[in-house]
């Protein structure tokens, strides 16, 4: 048998492939998959929080270490609590008890936290000139609770975190991240959620006082202070105030609600304590 040399045929063991195009196609597929999973899980999380019992919500709140101390309330907190209870009684959609908590901070903001805590910063309390105005803010937060917005935001954040940790490795453990959750999300809700909460707030104020006086006062104050640094916290979690004033005024006019004199409010103890 005579040996004759033949060149090895090419393209059998190394078929011509555009590696870059292939990698891009795969990355695109992965991206579509992740986006799909994100929306599916977000949707599932939204459905899930509608069924979450107040007890389960309490356990969740304990897990992410949000202060829920109802027993030791300051006089101002008790005052806010009383107003909060009167408003919440008007709305059966709110599950479980709500607790008022005032945090000493120059920031002008209020947030609805999982577990039923309404956290109000003293910066906001000090800007309240009437009880009706405060009732509007509390009613707005009650609106978030009624729509379960506080948990929906949490659910979506959990989904994002679960996806990022599974894709990019466990750089930060999930329990540790849960601790920082309050800080990370700032509990920012969508514009639609905010507007719905505004409507609930205005309705509650009108029902409680028999008129809608004071519902736009706070947003007017915020509008005037928009350039100040203390107000930036409010605008980081809430849409522009002028739009909301417009919407609320339209609502008041549309419903035919009366506008009467407001009840004055003063934050004696809070101003003292948080100085």
């Amino acid at each position: 048998m005579k040996y004759t040399y033949r060149e090895a045929p090419e393209g059998i063991n190394n078929p011509p492939t555009n590696h870059l195009a292939e990698a891009l196609a795969l990355a695109g597929g992965l991206f579509v998959l992740v986006v799909g999973v994100f929306f599916a899980l977000g949707w599932a999380a939204d459905r899930l929080v509608d069924r979450l019992s107040p007890e389960a919500e309490g356990r969740l709140a304990a897990m992410i270490s949000i202060p829920v101390d109802a027993s030791r309330q300051t006089p101002d907190e008790r005052e806010v609590q009383e107003l909060l209870d009167r408003l919440a009684r008007l709305l059966p959609a709110v599950k479980g008890p709500l607790r008022a908590k005032i945090a000493c901070s120059a920031e002008v903001n209020a947030v609805a936290l999982p577990g039923g805590t309404v956290l109000v910063f003293s910066g906001l309390i000090s800007r309240m000139r009437s009880e009706n105005e405060l009732a509007m803010v509390l009613g707005h937060e009650i609106g978030h609770f009624a729509a379960r917005d506080h948990l929906k935001g949490l659910g979506r954040t959990l989904v994002i975190m679960a996806l990022t940790t599974s894709l990019f490795g466990n750089q930060q453990g999930l329990p540790a991240s849960l601790q920082n959750l309050v800080g990370i999300t700032s509990f920012r809700f969508s514009r639609a959620q905010e507007e719905a909460a505004d409507r609930v707030g205005a309705r509650l104020v009108n029902e409680l006082y028999g008129h809608a006086g004071g519902v736009v006062d706070f947003f007017r104050t915020m509008d005037a202070e928009a350039h100040q640094s203390e107000a930036s916290a409010w605008f980081s979690t809430h849409p522009a105030s002028e739009k909301r004033v417009e919407l609320l005024e339209k609502m008041v006019a549309g419903e035919g609600w009366k506008l009467q004199a407001v009840k004055p409010y003063s934050d004696r103890e809070c101003a003292e304590r948080c100085r």
């Binding site: 040996y3 040399y5 060149e7 090895a8 063991n13 190394n14 078929p15 492939t17 590696h19 870059l20 292939e22 990698a23 795969l26 990355a27 597929g29 992965l30």
Partner: protein
């Protein structure tokens, strides 16, 4: 953000250099295959009684290859969906042919005229097994019996 920039530049670096490297390696492989064409290699175990064998010796050629960052990412994407890992195929093809060329080179230096009973083996040498962080790295070993025939 910084991590993303590092990641993307590593991919780009891997792609550009990996591609240039592959092209020049293939060119060199083809040239040397042509240059060493007189050296017969086959997989037969038996020696033809007609041959006048004056010397026989084991010859080996080995290459260790690793993947560039781009191929690593491309292969890990492929891992999610399944299918041919084409990014690795060219790499292994190069490693096999390089190993055979090195074996022939060794045989040539021993003054052999042919290599019989050629075997090609591949083994993974990629660090800790079962650890996702380990880099794909393989050794390809070609071995055979070099014969000096008069």
């Amino acid at each position: 953000m910084f991590d993303l920039i590092v990641f993307l530049s590593l991919i780009l670096l891997g792609y550009v250099f990996g591609r240039a490297n592959e092209a020049s390696h293939y060119k060199s492989i083809r040239n040397r295959e042509r240059a060493s064409r007189r050296m017969e290699i086959n997989c037969n175990k038996a020696i033809d009684p007609a041959w006048n064998v004056v010397a026989a010796s084991l010859v080996t050629g080995s290459t260790a290859v690793s993947v560039d960052y781009f191929k690593r990412v491309a292969a890990s994407l492929r891992n999610l969906f399944g299918g041919r890992v084409s990014a690795y195929e060219t790499l292994l093809d190069r490693a096999r042919r390089e190993a055979v060329l090195r074996m022939k080179e060794e045989a040539r230096k021993l003054g052999a005229t042919m290599v019989i009973n050629v075997r090609i083996e591949t083994s993974s040498i990629s660090g800790a097994k079962g650890n996702n962080q380990s880099i794909a790295c393989v050794e390809v070993l070609a071995s055979g019996t070099a014969l000096k025939i008069r």
